[in-house]
Point group: C5
C-alpha cells in the first residue's frame, strides 16, 4: 500500500513509483510501435487500404465502458471489503482483550488470551500470503500450543477454538458468569466471520471469463485503432493511440492488482503493517512494552 | 468456478477454456455470415438499397448500455451474495462446533452435533442442485435421523431443527446454562438465514422481462448493424460486426451463467469444493482425521 | 413472477408472455404511425421543413440515460428488498418454531404459536394486496383470536403481539427461562422489522416527480425523433423509431411494474406461492401433514 | 410526499401538481427567451458570428453526466435512508410496546411507556422540522415530564432517557427480570440510532461544492447551447434548448428537494402522516381508541 | 463543512467561498493561456500544423468518465462512512450514559463514566487530526487518568478500556447484574468499531495509482484539447477549453478534499462542531449545565 501525502500537481504528472507504468510498458511499446508502422504506411496493408473510421470505436466503446466500469468497481469493492475485514480483526481483538481485563475476574490470566489473539492475527496473515507462521508462533505461544498447531491445515480457526478454550477454563473455574461469557462470544464470533470473509475473498476470484473478455476487447480495440484514426489525424495517430492504450492498459492492470488484495503488489493491503499495529495496540492495553514505531520509510510503500 | 493464476497477457488472448465462446459460437457465426452477405451485396436487398448510417446505433446504444450494465451488475450481485451466504455457512458451523466444545460441558457429545451440521451443509448443496443427499446422509447420520429426513421436503431446515434438539437435550440434562444456550442460538439463527437466503436466490430469478428485452435489442442491433456500416467501412464490415456481436453475446451469456450461481456451469460457484472444505475444517476442530486435500486439477475448474 | 427455464435463443426472440409488449402496444403503434406520416411527408409540416438532425437526440440522450438508469436500478432495488423481507419472514418464522420446540419445555403448546405465525404470514400478504384475510384466519385461528383481529386496522402487528403473549404465558407458567425468552425476542423483533419494511415499500413510492419527468422526456423524444432521422435514413425511419421507442417504453413499463412489487402484475413477487411455501415448511417442522405441492403450471407464472 | 395511482400515459404528459415546473419556470423562460434571441440574430453578437458546433457540448456532457448521476443517486440515497430510519422508529416503538405488555409483569403501567414513545415520535418530527412540540406534549405527557422537557435542547434524546427510566423503575420494583431488561435495551438502542441517523441527515448536507459546480456547469451549458445548434437546426433551436434545459433544471431542482427529505416540499417525506400512523398502531396494540383514518385527500399530497 | 441555506439560483453562479476555484486557479489559468496561444497560432507549432479533431477526445472521454465517476463515488462513500461512524459515536455514547443512569444502581457515579466518554470523543478527534488532546483531558479527567493516558500511543482505545473498568468496578461492587453488564457491552463494542473504522479511513487511502492515472489523463486531455477544437470553433476555443478544464479540475480537487474527510478543508467533516454537540447532549442527559450554543457564524463554515 502506498501511503504518501498528495504531491504537487506538477510533480504528480511524472511520478514513477506507484504508477503501473512498469507493468504495462511492453504492451504499450508494442502497441505504439504498431501504430507508427500503420501511420507510416498510411493505413495500407500490402497495397490494400484498410477502410476504417472512428464509428466502430465509439460503438465498441459502449461495451468496453460497461466491462471496465464493472471490473473496476468490483475489484475495488473486494479491496475495501478485505480492508474492512482486517478492521474487524483489530476491533474485535481489542474488544476481547478489554473484556478479558474487565469481565473475567482473573486479570493475570488475560495475557494468555492476548497472546493467542496476537498469534491469530499473524496466522491469518501467513495463511492469506501462504507464508510460514512458525517464527511468530515461536515468539508468542507455549510449546503445547505450537505442537497442536503445527499439523493443522486451518491454523487461524484452531487459534479461535483455543481462545474459546481459555474462556471455558475461566468459566469452569468460576471466574466469569455465564451472561458475561455470552458477551465475549460476540467478538469471538465476529473474528470467525472475519476469518471466513478473508478466506472467501482469497479463494473466490471475479469470474475468470470477465478477465478474458475485457482483455481481448481491449487488445483488439488498440490494434484496430490506428487504422481508424490515420486518415483523420495522420501523424498524430501514434501519440493518441499510445494515450488511449495507456489508460486502458493501466485500468486493467490496476484492476488485476487490487482484485487480489492480500498479495504484495504495491497497491495491495499492508498486512505486515496492520498486524504489527494490532499487536502494538493489544500490548498497550495489557500494559506490556511496545515495539518501537517504524520510522516513516522513504519509499512510501507499506507491505 | 475457474481458479487459476492470471496467464501472461499474450496467452490470455487465446484462452479457450473459461471463455464463453463455445456457448455463443452458433449465433456469432450466423451474425457474421449475414454481415458478409450484406457486404457483398453492398447493403442492397433485392435491388433496394437499405439507407442506414451509424446514428441509430449510437442512439440505441444508450438503452443497451443501461440494460446490459444493469443486468451485469445484478447478476454479479446475486453471484457474490450466494458466495457470501456460503461463507456464512462456513463461519457459523465453525462457531457452533467451537461453542459445542467450549460452552457445553459435554465434549464427548459434540461429535453428534458436528455430524448434523456437516449433513446440513451437504443437504443444502443437494437441495440447491436438486440432487440426492442419501449417500452423504448414509455416511454421516444414524438410522433414526435418516428415517426422519427421508420423507422431508425441506431437509436442511429439518437438520437445523435437529441441531436445536441436540441443544435442548444438553440443556435439559443440565450440561449448559440458559445464557449459553442463548449464545448458541445466534449462529443457529444465522444458519437459518443463510438457508433462506440460498432458497431466495435459487427461487427468484431476475424478472424474466429483462432477459426478453435485452435479448431482442441485442439481436435486432446486430442484424441491422451491417447496413449501417457497409457504406462507410466496406469490406471491414464483417470483422467489426463480429467483434461487436462477440462482446454483446459474451456479456449476455456470462450474465445468464452467473445469474444462477448454484448450477454447474464453468463460472458457477464451487459448491462441491466448498462443502468438502467446510467438512474438513469442522473435522479438524473436532480432532478427527481429514480427507486428503485434492490435488490441484489441471483444468483449473472446481465444481 | 415468471419462473421458467431460459428458452433457446431463437425462441426467446418471439416470446409473448412475460414480455411487456401488450402493455405498451397502443403507444408503440401511435408512435410508429406518426413516424410513417413524417417519413411520407419528408419531414414537412404544412410545407415547412422541420430542420432537425441527430445532434439534439444525442445531447438529450445524456439526461435520459441518467433518469432511466436511476429509475431502473431503484425499482429493482425495491423489488429485491421486498423479496429479501419476505425471506426474513420465512427465516424468522422457522427460527421461532424451532425455538418453541427446543427452548420452551412445552412441546404440545408449540402448535398454537405456529398457527399464529402462519396467520401472520397470510395477514401480511392480505394487507399488502388489500384483500380480506378472513378465510385464512377461519382456517387457522380459534374464535377468540379471530374476534380480536376482526376490528383491527394493523392485523399483522396484532398477531405479533399475540405471539409475544404466547411467550409471556409460557414464561409465567415457568416453562421457559428468561434468558431463553430473550433469545426468542430476536426473531420476533426481526419479524416486526420485516412487517415495517413491507409497509414502507408499499406506502412510499419513488418520488412521483421522477415518473413525470421521465415520461415527458421519453415521449417528446420519440415524437421529435422522426424529424431528426428522416433526412439521413429516409424510408428506414419508422423501423428505427419503432425500435428505439420499444426499448424506451418497455424500460419504463417494466420499471413501473417492479417498483410496486406486491401487486399482481406478471413480474411482481409471488406472494401466494411464498406464503404457501412458508406454511408448508413450518408444518413440516411441527410434524403436521403438508398440502400437496402444486404441479408446475404450464404458464410459468406464479402469483 | 405524493401518493397517487399511476395516471394514464396521456394524462401523465400534462400533470401540473407533482411536477417541478413551477419551481424552475423563471430560469426556463429566461433560457428559452435567450435562445430565441440567438436564433433571430443567427448566432451573431454585434455583427460577430459566434463559431460553435455540437462538439463542445458532447464533451462537456461527459462530466455533466457524472455530476448529475452522482447528485441524483446521492440525494435519493439520503431520502431513502431517512425513510428507512422512520421505519425503524415504527418498528422499534412497536417492539417496545409489545415487550412492555409481555415481558414486564405490569400491564397497567405500559401506557406510561407508550405515551413517552409516542411523544418521542412527535418530538423527533418537530426537531427535524424546527417546529414547536408543546401541543403534542400537552396532549400526551404529565406535567412533570413536560416541565423537564421544556428547557431541553435535545428533547427526543431526553424522552428516550425517560423511557429507560420507566424500565429502571419496573426493574427496581421486581416486575421484570434483568435478562428481559436486556431484551428491551435492544429496541431502545435502535431508537437512539434512528434519532442520531435523522440528526445526521438533517445536519450534514451533500458537500456544498457539488451544488456550486453542477449549477454553474448547467447554466453555462444552456447559455452556450443556442450558439452551437443554430447553424444546424435553425428555427428549431429554441424548442430543443427549452427541452434540454427543462431536463437539466428539473433534475437539479428535484435533487435539491429530496436531498433534504425532512422539509415540506411536495416530494419530501410525509412526517405528519407517519407519526400519525405510528401513534395509531401503538394505540391499537394498547387497546386504546384510534383517531379516525384520514379520508384520502384529493390532492394526493401528504405532508 | 459548509452549512448554509441554498442561495438563489442567480447568486449561486457567483459564489466564491465553498467553491474550489481558489485551489485550481493556477492550473486553470495555465491551461487557458496555453489554449489562447494555440488559438492565435491556429494550431501551428513551428510552422507545423498539428492535425487533430474531436474524435480522440470522445474516445478518451470514455475512460475518463469511468475513472472520474469511480473516484468521485468512492471519495464520497468514504466521506459518508466517516460521517456515519461519528454518528455511531454520538448514538452509543448516548446509549451508554442512558444505561449508566438506568441499569447501574449507582446514579451518582455515572458522571465518571460520562467524563471518560466525552474524553474519548475529543481524543478520537485529536488522534484523527494529529493534534494534542492534553487541554481537553485537563478539563475532563482526574490526575491519575491523565497520567495513564499521557504516554499512550492509542489514547481512544485506552479510554474505552477505562470505560470498561468503570463497568467492572460497579459490577464487582454489586451495583449491576451480569445480564445488564452484557447490555452495556453492546454500545461499548460499537464504540470500539467506530474507533477502528475511523482509523481505517484515516490510514488507508484510495489506491495511489488511481490518483496518478486520473491526474495524467486529465492534464494530457486539456493540453491536447485546443488543437482538436481550433479548426472547428476558432476564437471560441479558449472559452470552451477553460470551461471543460474547470469541470475536470474541480471534480478532481473536490474528490481529493473529501477523500480524506478528517482534515480541515472547507468540505471536510466538522469534527469540532460534532464533538461539541456530543458533549452537550451527554451533559444534558446528566443534568449538567451546557456550554452556550454557538451563534451561527457568518461564513457558513464549520470545522
Amino acid at each position: 500500500m502506498i501511503v504518501r501525502p498528495r504531491p504537487h500537481w506538477l510533480r504528480l504528472l511524472f511520478v514513477w513509483r506507484g504508477s503501473v507504468l512498469p507493468d504495462i510498458l511492453p504492451q504499450l511499446l508494442a502497441t505504439t510501435a504498431f501504430a507508427i508502422v500503420v501511420t507510416v504506411l498510411h493505413g495500407r496493408l500490402f497495397q490494400w487500404k484498410i477502410p476504417l473510421n472512428f464509428v466502430p470505436f465509439s460503438l465498441i466503446g459502449l461495451t468496453l465502458a460497461i466491462f471496465l466500469g464493472f471490473r473496476n468497481g468490483t475489484s475495488y469493492a473486494r479491496y475495501w471489503e478485505a480492508r474492512t475485514l482486517w478492521g474487524t480483526v483489530l476491533n474485535d481483538t481489542r474488544a476481547l482483550v478489554r473484556q478479558a481485563l474487565t469481565l473475567a475476574d482473573a486479570p493475570s490470566e488475560a495475557s494468555l488470551l492476548a497472546a493467542r489473539l496476537i498469534a491469530f492475527v499473524h496466522a491469518l496473515r501467513h495463511q492469506l500470503r501462504r507464508t510460514d507462521p512458525a517464527a511468530d508462533f515461536e515468539r508468542l505461544l507455549c510449546v503445547e500450543d505450537r505442537d497442536r498447531l503445527r499439523p493443522a491445515r486451518y491454523k487461524p480457526a484452531l487459534l479461535l477454538l483455543m481462545a474459546g478454550e481459555w474462556l471455558r477454563d475461566r468459566r469452569q473455574a468460576g471466574r466469569i458468569a455465564p451472561a458475561l461469557v455470552q458477551a465475549m462470544e460476540g467478538p469471538l464470533g465476529r473474528l470467525t466471520d472475519a476469518l471466513g470473509g478473508c478466506e472467501r475473498i482469497a479463494g473466490t476470484p471475479i469470474p475468470f471469463t470477465y478477465t478474458v473478455i475485457i482483455h481481448r476487447t481491449i487488445y483488439l480495440y488498440c490494434v484496430l485503432l490506428p487504422f481508424g484514426l490515420v486518415d483523420a489525424i495522420g501523424p498524430m495517430t501514434p501519440l493518441i493511440v499510445a494515450f488511449i492504450a495507456y489508460t486502458f492498459f493501466a485500468l486493467e492492470a490496476l484492476g488485476a492488482q487490487i482484485e487480489e488484495p492480500f498479495g504484495t503488489d504495491p497497491n495491495d493491503l499492508a498486512l505486515d503493517a496492520m498486524s504489527h499495529m494490532i499487536e502494538s495496540s493489544l500490548r498497550e492495553m495489557m500494559g506490556e512494552p511496545l515495539a518501537p514505531q517504524d520510522a516513516e520509510p522513504g519509499a512510501f510503500i507499506q507491505t
